[in-house]
Symmetry: C2
Subunit: 190 residues, 2 copies
DNA sequence: CAACTTTTTGAATGTTTACTCAAAACGAGG
DNA sequence: CCTCGTTTTGAGTAAACATTCAAAAAGTTG
């Protein structure tokens, strides 16, 4: 077989699903073998080791997240309205049963102690997300204001990613968003 | 030996340190044996198993957290000023090198997938913390306002617990706090 | 279709995992 | 000081862990 028989993207997707759910230490390569259907040898042949596969999953996730932010903000009538939509949607998702927080945030917290490469990678990706928010905000505000407000958005995203596990959290989160980010053009309440 | 030879509190403290740093899956009972100095048999004799020991560590941590909140808010001239002090102190800690986030938050995120007893326990403790904030706020605001503002505080705590890993985050976090929680009596900036 | 390189296979590697248990050591009560 | 329930010991267990490898299989190329 001179060409791979499986779809590399699909394997990463399935691994991402597993790692996202159970974390790095909580996932075993045996589980990767089971969920991807590949044999151990194949996985190690094409990905190297557990850490490298995890990193590819992280990268995949980060790319998708950045793309989603861009899509939402680009298709909104204004940056502010796009951000409102994005945050409201996130609050709704965070309360769902199968909600799994953010893969980058989970990795950041899980691997903070060893300070290894994966932790640094996740931190860098989170910084990319923040920079993306800042660049959109700079269309409407000066650099310093944009920087601070991007930080505020990140902090609220982190907060919602954790707070979402509490029951009946959606309404409360939406209220907090309106009160804590008053500079955003929130739609009138029904 | 009719009475235990070691200090139970001390063993839990050392286990807490380990679990806090590395998480549940990331910590091994071998490491517990090494850091506590107890033999495997002794640990299992007095704590049952890994999960039970972890739960005791969680409980220990939660108790200390609640006590710290009470101490800070009771000794402040007003609830609002106490909260400002508490949040500012947390922002400062979150940026320190050896910062390890919040043990309850880490556990909440790590064990969300299996939805087991430990996850429920951590969630319940976080709810206790929120209820404590709410009860203090009710001294100055009505019940509904207090409930929402307590949620806002929790969300900001969660956010800071994650955002703290970014470099140079203290100043930015302090600014976000002032802008996002404008109802608190922040001291004038120098 | 043969020669060659890439990919797959799956059993086997040695290590680490959580946890157990029978026997020994011990302190306290009579 | 002897007896009895409690605690400690640490070697030992079986399962799970990440990873490897020589051999087989399969696509590509001339």
């Amino acid at each position: 077989m001179a060409k791979a028989q499986y779809d590399r993207e699909e394997v990463i997707d399935k691994s991402l699903e597993l790692f996202w759910r159970n974390g790095f230490s909580g996932s075993s390569m045996q589980q990767v073998v089971e969920t991807t259907g590949l044999k151990p040898g194949s996985i190690y042949y094409s990905f190297g080791n557990k850490e490298a596969l995890f990193k590819e999953a992280l990268d995949h996730y980060a790319r998708a997240s950045l793309a989603r932010i861009r899509t939402t903000l680009d298709s909104a009538p204004s940056v502010g309205e796009g951000l409102c939509l994005f945050l409201e949607r996130m609050a709704g998702e965070a309360a769902k049963q199968e909600f799994r927080s953010c893969f980058l945030v989970k990795t950041q917290l899980e691997l903070a102690a060893d300070g290894g490469e994966l932790h640094a990678f996740a931190a860098a990706k989170l910084r990319e997300v923040e920079a993306l928010f800042q660049s959109y905000l700079e269309r409407e505000y000066d650099r310093e204001t944009s920087r601070n407000r991007a930080a505020g958005i990140m902090l609220h995203i982190f907060g919602m990613r954790v707070y979402g596990y509490q029951p009946n959290s959606v309404d409360r989160m939406l209220r907090v968003l309106r009160e804590s980010l008053p500079w955003l053009p929130w739609p009138d309440e029904p």
